[in-house]
């Protein structure tokens, strides 16, 4: 029996955080009170017409540029026709042929293994309203007694990012989702909150035997609202499909719904209906022109993307995993950038930031950005550790104190008498004194017994009040006893 292989494509909807909706002046920041951010246009009153939001176009061009897409100089709006109560016009303004962006790609890494995921298209559309199904069925439309409609979300600008079926595992899918979310956040075009639905994934999954070219019948899984459920839903769907096929059954092309509680995907429609959206170019909207000038303006103002940021952190000495954590956290990343320059110990600072700093902030229930910690605190601290003036445990104490606002690391280390003796001359003098006081031990060492070295180390530390840098003490001791032999 040949092994199975999964073929996965992801469609991601991203709500843009523009001031106003896609085709009218209503606020896109959705208020809680239902139906308070609506007007004739987003309620589809007779006679109303859509006018495109330039900021939303800028948003999608920014996303497309970041994904390395070709930006179409002229793209078209289409109507996607279907009846649903929370879709006010009973058609959605979307794109079909000639979307704003096409032919991009995104590199995702799973355990250091990079995969190029092709981006088929990035297109502009509008969101629907929200239906709340009330009744015994626990929110399912089939069992609802009645449905409440809120049109506040209707018309919020929505960008859809569609991949090629290039993804081969649930882990890759998750990595893709995470990387896309990072990019969108870095671009500042959306709050990309999965749990709030401002970023949503649909997973197209099929399986086939390894080595075959032909694609299997696919299902589309919706209602995936975390990266973890994206991975779980795809894992479930792959296993389900393989089980069906190995059992001699066939896969139905259908839309499925991820049930988070039960950890299963369920068929959404009792009977299979093939949807015919009757796409046609929206006669209310002219072709959307994105000039070369506009494109280069967007390109020039593109912020550094997460992958570039991670690479930069790694180049500064940070380990891969830490670099990812740092790049994902704006406040940690900016502290890192403020601290690290030239030959500063990037690895040390990266570890502190993602380790002790985050841990201390959590213990003290504060935000890292609210702490007193600065970049120069971190670079000073690293320097002190490098010079052997501070032990690693003392460094943690100083770091906590600096976060709490007790002063700069040097001041804290001074005040708390935490500085190590790292001056070789001072340490040598102390060693000489101890050696002179313990001729027996010295003699034993000379005879080849290395045990007394530990005893002598303890004596030196006691002599220096515990402030000598143990590594230097050890080195000096070894030098001196060996020299005597």
């Amino acid at each position: 029996m040949t092994a199975w292989e999964a073929v996965i494509g992801i469609e991601t909807h991203v709500e843009l955080s523009t001031k106003s909706k896609m085709f009218c002046g209503c606020p896109a920041d959705i208020p809680d009170e239902p139906n308070t951010a609506c007007c004739p246009v987003c309620l589809a009153l007779p006679g109303s017409l859509p006018v495109p939001n330039v900021k939303a176009i800028e948003g999608i061009v920014t996303i497309g540029t970041a994904l390395g897409c070709t930006i179409n100089e002229s793209s078209l709006f289409y109507r996607k026709n279907y009846f649903y109560p929370d879709l006010p016009k009973n058609y959605q303004i979307s794109q079909y042929t000639f979307p704003v962006c096409e032919f991009g790609s995104l590199i995702v890494e799973v355990q250091g293994e990079p995969t190029v995921v092709g981006i088929t298209r990035v297109h502009m559309e509008e969101d629907t309203g929200r239906s709340t199904h009330v009744g015994e069925g626990g929110g399912r439309i089939q069992d609802a007694e009645h449905t409440l409609l809120d049109f506040n979300r209707a018309g919020v600008p929505l960008v859809e990012v569609v991949t090629e079926p290039d993804i081969r595992s649930a882990e890759q899918a998750r990595a893709y989702g995470a990387e896309l979310q990072r990019i969108v956040l870095a671009l500042g075009v959306s709050d990309a909150k999965l749990e709030a639905g401002s970023m949503r994934f649909d997973a197209n999954v099929s399986v086939r035997h390894v080595g075959t070219e032909e694609l299997g019948t696919r299902t589309e899984t919706k209602n995936v609202n975390s990266l973890r459920s994206l991975q779980r839903a795809i894992e479930f769907e792959i296993d389900r499909q393989i089980a069906v096929l190995e059992d001699g059954g066939s896969i139905t092309q259908e839309t499925r719904h991820w049930n988070e509680d039960k950890g299963v995907t369920l068929s959404m429609r009792s009977k299979e209906e093939s949807e015919d959206y009757r796409y046609f170019q929206d006669p209310d909207l002219l072709p959307l022109e994105v000039s070369d000038e506009w494109q280069s303006l967007v390109r020039e103002s593109l912020p550094e993307l997460p992958a570039a940021k991670r690479a930069r952190f790694r180049a500064a000495g940070v380990e891969a995993e830490t670099a990812e954590l740092l790049a994902d956290n704006l406040e940690l990343a900016s502290l890192f950038e403020a601290a690290v320059s030239g030959d500063t110990n990037g690895k040390l600072i990266g570890n502190w930031l993602t380790g002790e700093v985050v841990a201390h902030a959590r213990r003290e229930n504060m935000l890292v950005s609210d702490s007193a910690l600065t970049g120069s605190h971190l670079s000073d601290l690293a320097e002190m550790v490098e010079e052997g003036k501070l032990s690693s445990s003392a460094a943690k104490e100083v770091l906590n104190a600096a976060m709490d606002g007790d002063g700069s690391p040097r001041d804290v280390a001074d005040a708390r008498d935490l500085l190590q003796m790292s001056d070789a001359g001072e340490i040598e003098a102390a060693v000489d004194t101890v050696l002179a006081e313990n001729p027996d031990a010295v003699a034993k060492i000379a005879q080849g017994d290395s045990k007394p070295i530990a005893f002598l180390m303890g004596q030196v530390m006691r002599h220096t009040g515990g402030k000598a840098d143990p590594s230097i003490v050890q080195r000096v001791l070894k030098d001196k006893t060996a020299g005597d032999a």
């Binding site: 004739p40 009153l45 006018v51 109507r79 009757r278």
Partner: protein
């Protein structure tokens, strides 16, 4: 003494400014006229007596204060009932919208109000502007003011009839395939469709978005241009409206036709065109030639397919535009027991009339997977050919002329059972909608049944000034001054 209701807008404006009479006097005159004609004519669906009165009083107060915002100040104007008027019932002559009062004004309505116009009320139409006779109204048909046994044309039959009888000084309609020009021709008034995008569609209940344009009805070419002046120009609420300088149309009427090259469209002068209509149009062409124009025959060969293309494009767009009428947010809602889906489908079955349902079905079919290319795609290609035909014609001539309608008014009920015969009423007007270019119908005489004949002048995109110049010449040559019999004050409701 002339009844004030029979004055042109320009003459009424002079009287208002000389203090001869007030806006309230004008409103009283059209209201009186309506009270005589409405029982037979049924041009209006809603007479906004209260709103009109306060607007007329406001206009008079403005005049008294020395404020004058332009030639429409204080002039009673009617609106087709598919233009949204804040707080005033707007139905599109459909049960679907019976009782619906919009919370906003269409851009055209706002501009008219800003220009000081007095909105008399809302006029009858074929439901959702789908028809050529105003018989498809859910609230009863409108009759022809020249003979109430005949239709007024459509779909803007109410506006055409109101202007013809003097129950409004001017009116606005919408023209998707001839819905202004054809009823203007059948009612003996001037009806004009602007270049697509010259006038905002915001607040016009859409029938077919790529074809719909609002335009004026008037009793003279000068009035028509005056009405267009008030509404033309870019609107930020309609992204298909043209952003550019707008000429002063009412100042573009002089100059005559001397030296102009005028093309008479041979494809619209043959079979299917009533001989009397054809004769009248040829006669006028000869007179234009005598007046110094060079009149030549020009072909528009793709007009043969224009009608079929139109009856795919318009229904396709309408099937999508009318999807919003689902009983969820406004308008009629079915009481049927069942699911939301049941409610929506019953609402639509109950709320729409048969012609609207026919076109929705036709359009849904034309856009379906597997049929799109053969129907909608093919129709779009024909549309391109029509545009090319016009473009090559305008390389040879300045304007084109033709009949507006293949026949004069037809009897009520004659074509209602035969959609194809009804659709053919628009054969001369549809090409200009497909090309998006301006066209005007000017009355030039009566046939032997005493019914008006309309003469169409077409011009290239944004060629309204030239179009008006020729229309003014046609008007002055024809000396068509007869008034519809129903306009006579002696007519009493039966």
């Amino acid at each position: 003494m002339t009844d004030l209701a029979d004055l042109t807008i320009v003459a009424a404006g002079r009287g208002l400014r000389s203090g001869e009479f007030s806006s309230v006097d004008l409103l009283d005159a059209v209201t009186r006229r309506a009270s005589i004609t409405e029982a037979q004519l049924h041009a209006y669906l809603t007479l906004d007596k209260k709103g009109a009165r306060s607007a007329a009083e406001a206009a008079d107060a403005a005049f008294a204060d020395g404020k004058d915002v332009g030639p429409l100040q204080g002039i009673p104007i009617a609106l087709k009932d598919n233009m949204c008027t804040i707080g005033v019932e707007t139905t599109a002559a459909s049960q679907m919208l019976a009782g619906w009062k919009p919370p906003y004004d269409a851009t055209v309505v706002r501009r008219l109000k800003d220009a000081g116009a007095v909105v008399t009320g809302k006029t009858n139409l074929d439901e959702f502007a789908m028809g050529s006779s105003t018989e498809n109204s859910a609230f009863g048909e409108t009759r022809n003011p020249w003979n109430p046994d005949f239709v007024p044309g459509g779909s803007s039959g109410g506006s055409a009839a109101a202007v013809a009888v003097g129950s409004a000084f001017g009116a606005f309609g919408s023209d998707t395939g001839g819905s202004i020009r054809q009823p203007a021709a059948l009612c003996g008034v001037v009806g004009m469709k602007p270049t697509y995008g010259l006038v905002s569609r915001y607040g016009l209940i859409a029938f077919a978005s790529s074809l719909d344009q609002i335009g004026p009805f008037a009793r003279s070419v000068e009035d028509s241009a005056t009405l267009l002046d008030a509404i033309a120009g870019w609107d930020r609420f309609d992204s298909t409206s043209i952003d550019g300088a707008v000429p002063n149309f009412s100042g573009s009427l002089d100059g005559g036709v001397g030296g102009l090259r005028i093309g008479i469209v041979s494809d619209l002068m043959g079979e299917g065109i009533d001989t009397q209509v054809r004769g009248a149009v040829s006669g006028m062409a000869d007179k234009l030639s005598e007046a110094g124009a060079e009149v030549v025959e020009v072909g528009l060969p793709s007009t043969e397919f224009a009608l079929s293309a139109y009856y795919l494009i318009a229904p396709a767009e309408c099937s999508s535009n009318l999807a919003r009428f689902d009983g969820v947010r406004y308008g009629h809602r079915s009481n049927v027991e069942g699911t939301t889906e049941d409610m929506m489908s019953h609402t639509r079955a109950e709320g729409f009339g048969p012609e609207v349902i026919r076109r929705i079905l036709l359009g849904t079919y034309a856009l379906s997977a597997g049929y799109y290319d053969a129907f909608y795609g093919q129709a779009q290609r024909v549309r391109t050919l029509v545009r090319r035909d016009f473009a090559s014609a305008y390389e040879k001539v300045d304007v084109l002329i033709s009949p507006t309608s293949p026949t004069t008014a037809f009897p009520v009920g004659e074509r209602s059972a035969d959609p194809i015969a009804m659709y053919y009423s628009d054969v001369c007007t549809i090409p200009s909608n497909l090309s998006g270019e301006p066209a005007i119908s000017v009355p030039i005489g009566l046939d032997d049944k005493g019914l008006p004949i309309g003469f169409q002048v077409m011009a290239p995109s944004l060629g309204e000034e030239l179009m008006y110049r020729v229309a003014a010449a046609v008007e002055s040559i024809s000396e068509f001054t007869k008034r519809a019999p129903l306009a006579s004050s002696e007519v009493v409701a039966p």
